[in-house]
């Protein structure tokens, strides 16, 4: 257990380091290149009004002083106030984060539901007719950017067939296309990895031992090759999920999904820096946590790692 505690401690330390670097980067990038006072005051404001806003928000202080104050605010979990809504930025994020997480979970579940059976099937005997064709299709899909898939889905199901709504967030129908889009990002890769893993697992020495002891193919496949192959795919599932959390920006935008992705795009367009910072930090933390969980589950699932620490 001592190993676990120190691993956890090291994780937390590197998360803190990541956050410090990230926030510093954001702070300077955002402050140095755009004058927030101008944005806040609006295009018609006079020079005096801008100056007033500047001193009201403390923007006339030296940059370093501002930075220290900013870090101080962050430690108190104060991410600042949105200049658009006038609400605390963290509240804006909190209101929308679950839509993003829920969509990511849906996308991941769809990916797993498609990829694992498909990959397992393709990997068992990769060089037979039907599987080859399907593998080629998977390859083609891997070359198709997610937003292109989204546009094609819209074109097919919303424009041509009129089965599904263009966009929105609510009924079951609104979930179909965003979920499929996310799955199309990831499913091809996961499918190919599972297939390759199954195939190489079948060539291992211990498979020959099992065969030499009378295990029929089905048993070898289900008891040895597939579990070992999926174990190897666990890591990918984790990083993919982390990617979904951050990479769903485009999907959310196309389907008008009220998640933090659309919030981010909108905030960038309106120079709403407080919200941009809050969203970025939220995503970084989520990605980090998912990665850490993946690592931990890997340790639990693989006996070689499980006892190595103790």
């Amino acid at each position: 257990m001592k190993g676990l505690a120190s691993t956890l401690l090291r994780r937390v330390a590197s998360l803190l380091l990541l956050l410090v670097v990230l926030t510093t980067l954001l702070f300077f990038l955002l402050r140095v290149t755009a004058d927030q006072a101008l944005v806040l005051a609006g295009p018609e404001a006079s020079a005096e009004q801008v100056a007033a806003i500047r001193s009201q928000y403390g923007l006339d202080r030296p940059l370093l002083t501002q930075y220290v104050a900013y870090l101080g605010d962050l430690v108190r979990l104060d991410f600042g106030t949105s200049i658009i809504s006038g609400q605390p930025a963290i509240g804006e994020v909190r209101a929308r984060i679950w839509a993003t997480v829920a969509l990511a979970i849906a996308g991941m579940m769809a990916t797993i539901a498609i990829s694992i059976p498909l990959g397992a099937w393709l990997g068992a005997r990769p060089h037979t007719g039907g599987r080859r064709t399907l593998a080629a299709f998977v390859f083609l899909l891997q070359g198709t950017p997610g937003f292109v898939v989204a546009l094609l889905l819209v074109q097919l199901f919303a424009v041509q067939l009129k089965w599904l709504p263009f966009m929105g967030y609510g009924s079951f129908a609104t979930w179909i296309m965003p979920t499929l889009t996310l799955a199309s990002f990831l499913a091809p890769k996961l499918t190919r990895v599972v297939a390759a893993n199954v195939n190489s697992a079948l060539a291992e020495d211990h498979i020959r031992t099992a065969r030499a002891n009378g295990a029929p193919f089905t048993e070898i496949y289900w008891r040895h090759a597939l579990p070992n192959a999926l174990l190897g795919a666990t890591a990918l599932i984790g990083t993919q999920f982390a990617f979904l959390l951050s990479g769903s920006v485009i999907t959310e935008m196309i389907f008008g999904w009220p998640g933090i992705g659309t919030l981010l795009i909108r905030s960038i367009q309106s120079a709403d820096f407080a919200v941009v910072q809050a969203v970025t930090i939220a995503i970084a933390i989520m990605v980090f946590v998912v990665n850490a969980l993946t690592d931990a589950s890997f340790r639990v699932l693989d006996p070689r790692l499980r006892r190595a620490g103790s």
């Binding site: 211990h206 099992a210 193919f217 070992n228 006996p303």
Partner: protein, 611 residues
């Protein structure tokens, strides 16, 4: 249980009968035949040795007996009977009922032979559940008692162990337990001890000999010595064909085919010839002098003392052998001398200069005089480099010579190791293992070193090739006067070529002396056990052997007192309390034992005529 669905077990004595077995693999032009017209029979209770070098087709032959020849191989025969039934007519599902029940198989590499993410116990009980229709709990009891039978300590706990938690020797024991769990009528063993240490090999062979009473055993091996110990009949194969077959003792005593004779010639044995020669220890001061050398590695918070106070001298022109099991610190000592692992203690002098902590230019200069040949000829040559580039690499590194003189040197070196100079443009992949080792030797000689360290220079090679490489090394020594430090686990080889022997155990010297003294009259029981573990061909099964129990302890937790006492056949109370110093013995050699010379060895000395 479902025995009637498989094949009936007739009362015949003959369990295998194969005629004209042919195995082909599709090749680029014509299919290549790896097994070409082999016939064999096996009786119950009989042990048949299939002996051959790499490329002989012996592994495929054994796989064919279980219908496990991998695709796209094709197997044909005019007759193949297993337990009196026609095996050629069987389909895959019938084979599944036979494999593991009527025929068991032990593979070469136990480390990869088990599924790494399932427990040993489950993998073995699976076979019982499948073939004997047992439930898991019933199977568990049987597996635990089987693990106990093959000598695995505390089998109840080991049942739940994963493969990575067990040593190679233990895994091979578990593999034997798995292959025997359904009491098959035929057991196939493909190089079952090749991946193991000599001392562990002796244990496993002992175990197999004891366990196979009532079944037929086919032992596939490259080692005539191993075959000699446990086989009733042997069959020598080469290029897929049988060159000689017959009663084991008969074949070894009077081989008919010249290939068999050549193999026999190259096989390990202790000959009287060497004992006649006078040792070459010079009266000059040693060229390399190591005192109390220490190398350790951090493992977590602790330190692993891989080399723990070794004294070692090399005189000009002599051959010193460093012997011990894997993990004894042989290779680490060599790499410590070479400056790859920094020495953490002691003193090292070369030609009188202190080179203990040499680095940078001084280390580089030392390396012109001190060179090393690595064990594995397949890994030690960059596969992308031509032989010319490989041979001139040391010359480039030390800025020696002009372009033309380097080319001349490369040709000279090729000549010295008896390879054609036209091959300079080729890549390592066009050379066989023995040829690659010649290139390695040539590279190490490029700078004309005064000492050459060779780490197991022949152990990765076929026996017949081993003899060639050893002869080459001896020729070079005669011609150039280079001194050798040969690292080896093979005491018969050491006996053949070394002037002096240093025996290491857990990073310490336990015995040291002239090869003659150490091998003919070992003072330390560990040395005696190492000598005894060499499977000599002159063993007809009557040789008295000392089989060590267990495996070397972890150097992280060396036992108290004499580090060897837990495995020692003559250990007494004192041994676990006090560490014996390295002291002079009556025979002249040094040994770290309170009771030197108590364990005697049976060398089976043979008189082989001078070739």
């Amino acid at each position: 249980m479902n025995r009637e669905k498989g094949m009936t077990t007739p009362n015949t004595q003959q369990v295998i009968r194969v005629e004209d077995l042919v195995i082909e693999f599709p090749g680029e032009d014509a299919p290549s035949r790896v097994v070409d017209g082999v016939s064999l029979t096996l009786d119950r209770g009989e042990t048949l040795g299939v002996v051959g070098e790499s490329g002989s087709g012996k592994t495929m032959l054994s796989l064919a007996l279980m219908a496990l020849v991998p695709k796209p191989g094709r197997v044909q025969s005019s007759r193949m009977e297993l337990l009196g039934n026609d095996a050629r007519a069987l389909d895959e599902s019938q084979w599944c009922r036979i494999r593991g029940r009527d025929v068991g198989m032990i593979f070469q590499n136990p480390m990869t032979g088990f599924n790494p993410v399932r427990t040993i116990g489950r993998q073995i009980s699976q076979s019982l559940q499948r073939h004997a229709g047992m439930g898991f709990n019933e199977a568990r009891e049987r597996v635990i008692s089987a693990l106990r039978d093959v000598g695995i300590p505390s089998p109840e706990q080991r049942f739940n162990a994963y493969p990575h938690e067990m040593s190679g020797g233990q895994l091979q024991r578990a593999m034997i337990a798995l292959a025997m769990i359904n009491r098959p009528a035929v057991l196939l063993a493909d190089e079952p001890t090749t991946a193991l240490d000599a001392t562990v090999q002796a244990q496993i062979l002992e175990l197999m000999r004891a366990r196979v009473e009532n079944c037929g055993l086919v032992l596939v091996t490259h080692d005539l010595g191993v075959a000699a110990q446990i086989c009733d009949r042997i069959m020598v194969v080469r290029h897929g064909r049988i060159v000689e077959a017959g009663d084991c003792a008969e074949v070894l005593r009077a081989p008919q085919h010249e290939y068999t004779r050549a193999l026999l010639e190259a096989a390990p044995r202790f000959t009287r010839r060497r004992l006649m020669q006078a040792p070459r220890v010079a009266s000059t001061p040693p060229l390399l002098e190591g005192r109390n050398l220490r190398v350790s590695f951090p493992v977590g918070k602790r330190k692993l003392h891989a080399v723990d106070g070794v004294d070692l001298d090399i005189w000009p022109g002599e051959t010193v052998a460093l012997v011990g099991e894997s993990g004894s610190g042989k290779s680490t000592t060599a790499l410590g001398l070479m400056g790859v692992h920094p020495l953490q203690g002691g003193e090292l002098r070369f030609a009188g200069d202190d080179v203990t902590h040499a680095s940078g230019e001084r280390l580089k200069r030392l390396r012109r005089d001190l060179q090393m040949v690595l064990q594995n000829p397949y890994g030690s040559l960059d596969p992308r480099w031509s032989v010319r580039r490989i041979l001139t690499e040391p010359l480039h590194a030390h800025g020696v010579g002009s372009r033309a003189s380097r080319e001349a040197r490369a040709r000279e070196l090729m000549d010295q190791v008896q390879l054609p100079a036209e091959a300079l443009d080729r890549l390592p992949s066009s050379f066989s293992g023995g040829q690659r080792q010649r290139i390695s030797i040539a590279r190490a000689l490029a700078l004309s070193p005064r000492i050459l360290i060779a780490d197991e220079p022949v152990s990765a090679l076929d026996v017949s090739i081993q003899a060639q490489i050893i002869r080459l090394l001896m020729d070079i020594q005669t011609r150039t006067g280079v001194a050798y430090m040969i690292i080896s686990h093979d005491l018969a080889l050491v006996h053949e070529i070394a002037d002096r022997v240093i025996v290491l155990y857990l990073g310490r010297v336990v015995e040291q002396g002239t090869a003659q003294a150490v091998i003919s009259a070992p003072q330390h029981p560990y040395t005696a056990a190492l000598i005894s573990a060499v499977p000599v061909v002159d063993d007809d099964g009557t040789r008295t052997r000392i089989v060590l129990g267990g495996e070397p302890p972890s150097p992280l937790k060396p036992p108290s007192g004499c580090p060897f006492h837990p495995r020692c056949p003559i250990a007494r109370e004192r041994c676990s309390e006090e560490r014996p110093p390295l002291a002079k013995t009556p025979g002249g050699s040094l040994a770290a034992c309170f009771y030197p010379g108590e364990v005697e060895v049976d060398l089976r000395l043979s008189d082989v005529a001078e070739a």
